[in-house]
Symmetry: C2
Amino acid sequence: MTLRPLTTALLDRLGPDLSDGTLRETAPAYLAEPRGMWQGRAGAVLAPRDTAEVARIVRFAAAERVGIVPWGGGTGLVGGQVMPDGAAPIVLSLERMRAIRRVWPDENVLVAEAGAILSDVQDAAREAGRLFPLSLASEGSARIGGLLSTNAGGVNVLRWGNARDLCLGIEAVMPDGAVLHGLRRLRKDNTGYDIRNLLIGAEGTLGVITAAALRLFPRPASRGVAMLVVPSPEAAIDLFHRADALGSLSAFELISGQGMRFLVEGGFDIRQPFAAIPEWAVLLEYGLTRGEDAPARLEALFEDASGAGLVSDGVLASSEAQAAALWAVREHIPLANRAVGSIASNDISLPIGEIPGFLRDCGARLAAMADIRINAFGHLGDGNLHYNLFPAPGRTKHDYADRAEALREIVNEDVAARDGSFSAEHGVGRLKVATLERYGDPARLQAMRAIKAALDPLGIMNPGAVLRAAGASD
Amino acid sequence: MTLRPLTTALLDRLGPDLSDGTLRETAPAYLAEPRGMWQGRAGAVLAPRDTAEVARIVRFAAAERVGIVPWGGGTGLVGGQVMPDGAAPIVLSLERMRAIRRVWPDENVLVAEAGAILSDVQDAAREAGRLFPLSLASEGSARIGGLLSTNAGGVNVLRWGNARDLCLGIEAVMPDGAVLHGLRRLRKDNTGYDIRNLLIGAEGTLGVITAAALRLFPRPASRGVAMLVVPSPEAAIDLFHRADALGSLSAFELISGQGMRFLVEGGFDIRQPFAAIPEWAVLLEYGLTRGEDAPARLEALFEDASGAGLVSDGVLASSEAQAAALWAVREHIPLANRAVGSIASNDISLPIGEIPGFLRDCGARLAAMADIRINAFGHLGDGNLHYNLFPAPGRTKHDYADRAEALREIVNEDVAARDGSFSAEHGVGRLKVATLERYGDPARLQAMRAIKAALDPLGIMNPGAVLRAAGASD
C-alpha cells in the first residue's frame, strides 16, 4: 500500500470542506523538532476547528491514501512529530482545539481538548481549587493530545503516575474517520478492551486523540522542598526509600556534579546551593495535606539520613522563593546540556536497585571507548535517568561523530541486560524505531504490527513512527 | 471459521506432549460459576506446569482449531470462565502455576505466576514488609491471572487503583502460542503500544496471562476505621470529599439500611453497630504512615462532618477487633444478598455527583414497575455501586421472572443516560455481551473486533466472552 502525496490538486478538492482558518501557512515550526535532527515535510498544515472536522480530514486522507502527521506542541524529542521522507503528508495541528470543555471540581475531573496547552490545563485545575499534576519542562507549549499520545512523564510521576494514569477517558478519531466517544469520567469501567490505553502512547499511529477526561487531585496545602548532598548513587537510593516511607513524596530527582558544573560552564545565572559543587545531590519535594508540617518532615528525614551517613549537607527550603531557587537548578540542567552539546542523549529506566551498578559499569565501558563527560540526572525515584554523554573540555560533539552510535549502543546494551528500557518517557518516535526492533520482545512487536494493520490498514496515521512504515526498509 | 471440539482422539494426540499431572479430572467446579447461571463444557481440563507448557497447549489448540477457556479461581460473576455451548473447549486452569517467583522489597515489586491466589500474594508482600493492596471478597480463591484478566477492583481502588494500576508487566501466551516476555518492573517504559493493558481486562480473549510483575506499597503503619450514619446519599458524597481531603483515605463504602436488615433477615451473626438500623451509613478507612494519628484524623472528620450536618452518629474503631467487626458488616452483605436471592444484580459506576439523582430516579422508576426491595451498596468513593434488586417480603425472585429483564434494562438505561458504566468491576464475560453491543461506543466496538480478529484470527481464545464469537448470532 503506497501512500500518495498531498498535492495542490488534492488540497483543492478538500478545500471546500474545510472551515475558515483550517488551512495554515506551512511555517517552519511545523517541520522542525527541538533537537534539529530532522526536517519534516508537509503537503499542507491543517488545524481543524473541532472533532467533526478532524474526522472529515481523516476520512479524506483515508480515501485518498494520504499520510497524516498529528501535531501537538512540537516538543517531542524523538521525531514523532516530523516526517522527513516519503509522500508529503497532512500535518494535522490540534492548536485550534484548545478548549477546557468542562471542569467538575467535586469529581476531580477536567475535560480538555487535545490542543489545550499543559500550563493552561494546570491553571484551569488551580482555578477550580485542584491540581493537575503532570509537570515537565515544556509545559508552556506541550499540548494535551501530544502529552497523552506520548504518555508523557515529568517530575511528578513518582506520586501521580505517567500521563496515562491521569486520563480517565478519551475522544479520538480513528484511522477510518470514525469518532470514538470515550470521554468517560469513571474510576471503574470494565466493559471490554482498553482502547484508551492503546491510543495513549501510540504516538498518533493508531488515531488522533481529540479530547481527554483528565484526573484532578486535591492541591497539597504546603510543600517541602530540599536539596541534599549524598555521597553516592547508592546513598541516594537508600535516601529515596526513607523519604518515600514518610509519605506524600512527589518528586525525587538526582543531580550530578557534572550537571552543576555545566551550569557554570554555560554561564547560567543560577545560584549554586552549596559552597563546593558536590558529586551527587538529590532534589526532593513533599506535597503535604492540611495539618501536616513540611519543615518537620524534611528535618526528620535529614536527621535520620545524616545519622545513617546518607547525607552530608543540605538546604531545606524555608520559603516558596527558596523552593523555586532549588528547582531552578534542576530545571536549567537540560538547558545547560544543550549549551554544551551532547554526543548522545539517553532517556533510560532501570529497576531502581540496578542504577548504581549501571552508573559504575556503563560509565567505565564508555570511558574505555572515549574521553567523554557524563551527566546522569533526572527522575531517580521512578528509576528514570537522563544519561547524556558530552565531549571532553575543549572538544565538541562533532569530534565524536564516528563513535556516537557505538557509545549509544553500549548504553542500550547495558540497559537491556539489566531489564531496563531504552525509552522511559520520550517514546519511540522515528529516532528509536530500529532500537525497538532490536530490543523489543518479538511477540510484543508482532502484536503491535498486527494491531497497526488492523486499525490502520492503509498506514496513513503518522507513517514511520513507532513501527517502520509498511514497505519501508532500514 | 468453525471451532472443533476437543475429542478423545485429539486429546490422545496431545497427551504425549503433556507433563505429568497436567490432564485433570473434569471436576464439576471447572464447569460452574458462582451464580449458577451457566453450566460449562469441556473436552478436557488441562493444568499446565509452566509457561512453556501453556504455549504448547495453545499452539496445539491453534493448529487443531480448538477453543480454550482460561480458568483462574472460578470466582468471576459474569460467566467469563464457563463456555456453555459450542464445540467442547480445553479448560486451561492455571492452578499449578502459583509460584511467587521473586520479591524485590526495595523496588516494591513482586512477580507472581497467574495461578497464585490473591491472599498468598498479599501474604508474600506482608512477609516482605510491604502491601499488595488488591483486596476483595474472593481473595482466598481468586487467582492473579484471572484478577488481571478481569481488571478486578475491590475495596482499595480509591487509593491504589484497579488491578491494571497494580501491574507493571506481564508474561503471556498469545493466541498463536508465542510467549510475550514482558515482566518489566519499571515505572516508566514508553517503547510502543500498551499490550499489557490490552491483555489486562480482555478476559482471556486475546491471550493467556501466565505471570505478572505487581506493584507493592509501604504498609500503612496504622489504620483508622469508622462507620458513620449519614442522612442521605448526598451527605455521604459530601462526607466523602471531606474525608478524602484529609489524605490517605483507602476505602469509602456505602451501606444501606436494606443491607443491614438483610443481615438480620438472613440470620447472620453480625453485631449491628447502631441501636437502630439507619437508612444510610458509610464505612471508611484511612491507612496512615508512621507519625500520623488515626484516632485524631477520624475525630477531626467526625467533628467537621457533624458540624456540617452530614453525620448523625458513628462508631470510631478503637482497636483492630473493632475495625474487623465494622468490616464484617460490609463483607457479609453480599452473603446476605445471596441468602435473600436477588432478582437482578447490577455492578454499575457513575460520575460520583450523579449517584444521588440515580438512586432517587431509578429507584422510583423501578418501584413503579414492581414491588421490590433495593440494596444499593459498595464502593461509593469510586462511584461504583452494587445495585441489586430483591423480591418484596414473602415473595421470591421466581415471582419476578417475567419482569427481571425489564427491570435490568431500566437500570442500564438510567446508567447510560448519566454517562455511567453497566459493568464497573465485574467485566463483560458472557452475561453482558449483548449489553456491551447495545451501550458500547460503536467506534470502540469496531476497534475491539478488529483487534480480536488481528490477534486471534482463529477465534480460539475464550470464544464468546466479551465479543460474540465469529459466526454466532444472538
